[in-house]
C-alpha cells in the first residue's frame, strides 16, 4: 500500500532526499555540496516541482547561492553563512 505524504511532509521529503539540512537558528534549509540556501519563507509558497527544479539547477557557484524572497543584504548573508559553517 502506498502512503500518500501530506503537503509539508512532501516538501520535507524532497529536501531530505536532496541532502538539505535545516538550520534552526536561521530558519533555512541548506546543502553544503551544492552551496544552496533556501529560506522557509521562500519555500512556503513554492510548488514541489519548482523546488525540485531549483534543487537540480547547477549554479556552478563556489559561493553560497541564496534563495530568499528578496536579495538578502550583505550582513544577513554573513550571519547565515556563519551559522551554517
Amino acid at each position: 500500500m502506498k502512503i500518500e505524504l501530506r503537503p509539508l511532509d512532501k516538501k520535507q521529503h524532497i529536501l531530505d532526499e536532496a541532502g538539505f539540512a535545516y538550520n534552526f537558528d536561521r530558519r533555512v534549509y541548506f546543502n553544503r555540496k551544492s552551496k544552496k540556501i533556501f529560506s522557509v519563507a521562500f519555500l512556503k509558497d513554492k510548488r514541489d516541482e519548482e523546488i525540485k527544479h531549483l534543487i537540480q539547477v547547477d549554479t556552478g557557484d563556489k559561493e553560497w547561492k541564496f534563495y530568499f524572497t528578496s536579495e538578502p543584504p550583505e550582513s544577513v548573508r554573513r550571519a547565515v553563512e556563519a551559522s551554517i559553517g
Binding site: P7, L8, D25, R27, V40, F42, S75
Partner: protein
C-alpha cells in the same frame, strides 16, 4: 576612547525598556476590559466548562527574537539599524482567553468584538483551519504599544504553552525548530487531534 558600535539588538533592548511601563499599562488595561466584558459568560458556565484569562507582557528577549524571526534568514541587517522597532510588534502586551470546550469560543469572540470592533483581525490559521481568533490594536493607555488578544480553545492554548516553554525556550539552539516542515506537519496533527477530542466531548456533553 572610541565609541563601541551598538548592535541592532542593543538598540532594541534599550527601546524595550523605554516601552516597558507602557506595555504593562496596556496589558493591565486589556486584561481588565476583557475580564469585565466576558464576566457574564464566565458566571454562566456549566460545571464541566472552563474559561481562563491569561495576561502577559512579552519578555525582552522574546520580543527581540520575534522581530528577528520575522526577518528572512532570521538576522537583522546591521547596516540599517534604524528600520527596526519593537513598536511594530502586535503582541508586546497580550491577553489570551482560553475556553473549554470550544463551543464557548464564538460567544466570547462576539462579546469582545463588539468592544474592540476597530481592532484588526489576524487569526492563527494552518492549512485553512482557524486555530485561534486573534486581534490587535491600540488601547487608550498608549499610542505606541499595540495590544493583542486571542480567543482560543483551552487545549490548543495549553499545548502551545507547553510547546514553547518546555521545548523551544530553554534551548536557544532549538528556537526555530517549529518552522521545519516536518515539525509543522506533526504540530498540525496535534491540533487536529485536540479539536477532534473537544468536538466529540462536546457532542456527548450536549446529550446530558
Amino acid at each position: 576612547m572610541g565609541e563601541v558600535a551598538r548592535t541592532v539588538e542593543d538598540r532594541l533592548r534599550q527601546e524595550y525598556f523605554t516601552l516597558l511601563p507602557e506595555s504593562r499599562r496596556v496589558a493591565d488595561r486589556l486584561e481588565a476590559e476583557v475580564r469585565y466584558h466576558i464576566r457574564l459568560i464566565s458566571a454562566g458556565l456549566r460545571r464541566h466548562e472552563r474559561v481562563a484569562v491569561k495576561c502577559r507582557v512579552k519578555s525582552c528577549e522574546s520580543a527581540l527574537e520575534k522581530l528577528r524571526a520575522q526577518q528572512e534568514g532570521a538576522a537583522f541587517d546591521e547596516s540599517r539599524p534604524e528600520i527596526y522597532t519593537l513598536t511594530g510588534l502586535n503582541d508586546l502586551a497580550g491577553v489570551r482567553v482560553l475556553s473549554f470546550p470550544r463551543g464557548r469560543l464564538a460567544d466570547i469572540d462576539r462579546k469582545l468584538r463588539k468592544v474592540f470592533h476597530s481592532w484588526t483581525a489576524d487569526p492563527v490559521e494552518d492549512d485553512g483551519d482557524v486555530l485561534a481568533l486573534k486581534y490587535y490594536g491600540r488601547c487608550r493607555t498608549s499610542d505606541r504599544v499595540k495590544g493583542e488578544y486571542q480567543v482560543v480553545s483551552m487545549l490548543t492554548g495549553l499545548f502551545w504553552e507547553v510547546e514553547h516553554s518546555a521545548i523551544y525556550k530553554p534551548d536557544v539552539e532549538l528556537r526555530g525548530i517549529d518552522q521545519n516542515f516536518g515539525m509543522r506537519e506533526r504540530t498540525r496533527d496535534v491540533a487536529k487531534a485536540l479539536r477532534a477530542f473537544e468536538e466529540y466531548f462536546e457532542g456527548l456533553a450536549r446529550q446530558t
